[in-house]
């Protein structure tokens, strides 16, 4: 059965985050005072944090995952900061050891008597908000294709790479269908590479999450992204259900006009293959 491979240190998997960093990402997002770029950077940092926590065994980090963060805008390049700047892919243990900085934050946790109390935590930052330039989606996807090919050259076995692409607009460097179809045609022994796309909008437009058909999509830009989105494997649909997100069988890994909640759910759902050993 595809997408059932155990994820272990001997058979790790990789996540590739492809982020639109074009000028329009500076716009405010939904009801938030934050820009889209700020919100996305925050969600990506939270997602990376969760992957590190999931890989932590007591004081050790097990390299179940390798991670890439690629941005396209003024430049098309790896987007991790600090000591990891310029690196196209890093094992999760290196990511854990080298955040750009640790911020002091508070979070609410239940106390012994059931009340919520504030707790001080250190929160790692790897990605800062960046915006500028055009929507060089094709160039970004080409860089992703290179990373996927290098990964599969070394690791034909195991859970295939998952690409999580977030954008707020239409490609300005051509139709991304060809290069995305290339990526989708690659496979490991456990299934084809997964490409999930999340389109976000600052306008109060009707959002469409994980559709099974393109019938309700409003324009060709939406249909293009739908057609380059993988069918969601059952393992992701089940994982989404556990977080309260209902997705129908046959759905694509695609969100159109997503709001902040959609973005958070998109990254949560897309990084949940859970068969860790």
């Amino acid at each position: 059965m595809p997408y059932s491979a155990e994820i272990s240190r001997g058979n790790p998997t990789c996540f590739i985050f492809l982020l639109d960093q074009s000028r329009s990402m500076s716009e405010r997002f939904g009801e938030h005072a934050q820009s889209k770029a700020q919100f996305v950077a925050d969600v990506v940092n939270r997602t990376l944090h969760d992957l590190v926590i999931r890989s932590t065994r007591t004081e050790e980090i097990r390299n179940y995952y390798y991670v890439s963060v690629i941005g396209y805008g003024k430049n098309v390049a790896p987007a991790l900061g600090g000591e990891l700047a310029g690196k196209a892919q890093v094992p999760i243990s290196e990511l854990a050891a080298k955040p750009t900085r640790l911020e002091n934050r508070t979070k609410k946790v239940p106390s012994a008597d059931g009340d919520l109390v504030e707790q001080h935590v250190r929160f790692p930052i790897w990605v800062d908000p960046v915006f500028g330039g055009w929507t060089q989606m094709c160039a970004g996807l080409k860089l992703v294709r290179n990373i996927v090919d290098e990964w599969l050259n070394e690791r034909r076995q195991g859970f295939p790479p998952t690409v999580l692409h977030l954008t707020d607009g239409a490609s300005t460097d051509g139709d991304p269908t060809s290069v995305a179809t290339d990526i989708l045609s690659r496979s490991s022994s456990d299934g084809h590479v997964l490409l999930f796309n999340c389109h976000v909008s600052a306008r109060h437009s009707v959002k469409i999450e994980y559709p099974e058909t393109e019938a309700l999509l409003p324009d060709s830009r939406a249909r293009t992204l739908f057609n380059i989105s993988s069918l969601l494997p059952d393992v992701f649909i089940r994982a989404a259900a556990q977080t309260g997100l209902k997705i129908n069988p046959g759905a694509r890994g695609f969100v159109f006009n997503g709001d902040p909640v959609s973005v958070a759910q998109f990254f949560e759902m897309g990084t949940r293959p859970a068969n860790l050993r």
């Binding site: 932590t56 980090i61 854990a96 106390s111």
Partner: protein, 261 residues
């Protein structure tokens, strides 16, 4: 004259997931035949230091002077054990990710079983939190499986024993307690979730495999057991998870009252 402890034949098996070292196994076994107390714990892989939590639970449960077979006894005992678990890390400076994981604490499924003799009869009582199982067999037929009897019911996010005191109250109400009587010839299997699910499924669909498993276990034939488990993991019928098993067979009648706790 035979005491109850001398009438029990006990066999155990513990195996890590395929591809991992024995030192990475997060299942743990506790046996103390002298007081007829047996238990397993299954540390949750994604939690913090669950291997140590599982070992603390099994080691101290069998050593306890109290029966720890009721909710009222279990609550303060778990609270004190959790304190002991946390004390080990409280003084250390941990990296950010370990500190965060340590705050959430460890989790484990747990099942404990005690036998009691009265005159010629033997009774048992078991306590369970989570999806480790006790299977009671008589004349090669399963009499009961507790707390889960349907193999399809495994893997549904079981309630687990937390090391974190703040989470304990929500769990203690979910503790399941069962008791019964045993006869000479009866066999009790205590199994962690993956092997329990496999065994219950095998009883339904491939009883020869369940019997093969039990025969190797009874004979203490670890090599053949490991080969069987490897074969079943490779075929996909047994999930690649840690395995802990205790087999207790009632061998002789009890001819005098045993000293029981």
């Amino acid at each position: 004259m035979t005491g109850l402890n001398q009438s029990l034949q006990v066999r155990t098996l513990i195996l890590p997931k395929a591809g991992l070292k024995r030192s990475e196994c997060e299942d743990s076994i506790g046996t103390r035949s002298s007081v007829q107390r047996f238990c397993v714990a299954d540390g949750a892989t994604e939690a913090f230091d669950s291997r140590r939590w599982a070992r603390l639970l099994t080691k101290h449960w069998v050593l306890s002077n109290r029966s720890l077979l009721t909710r009222e006894e279990l609550r303060p005992w778990l609270s004190a054990l959790g304190e002991r678990f946390r004390a080990r890390w409280a003084k250390k400076t941990l990296p950010w990710y370990a500190a965060e994981k340590a705050r959430a604490g460890a989790f484990a499924a747990f099942l404990g079983l005690g036998f009691f003799a009265s005159g010629d009869s033997i009774s048992w009582q078991a306590i369970a939190i989570g999806d480790s199982c006790l299977i009671h067999t008589r004349a090669e037929r399963m009499r009961s499986s507790f707390p889960i009897s349907d193999p399809s019911h495994f893997g549904c996010h079981p309630i687990l024993v937390p090391s974190n005191d703040a989470r304990l109250d929500a769990v203690i109400d979910q503790v399941v307690i069962r008791d019964g009587r045993a006869r000479v010839g009866d066999v009790f299997l205590i199994l962690t979730d993956a092997i329990a699910a496999w065994y219950l499924q095998a009883l339904n669909t491939s009883p020869h495999l369940a019997h093969e498993f039990d025969a190797y276990l009874a004979a203490g034939n670890d090599h053949s057991l490991e080969t069987l488990i490897r074969r079943c993991r490779n075929s996909g019928s047994l999930r690649n998870d840690d395995v802990a098993v205790i087999r207790i067979a009632i061998k002789n009648s009890v001819r005098r009252r045993s000293v029981l706790r």
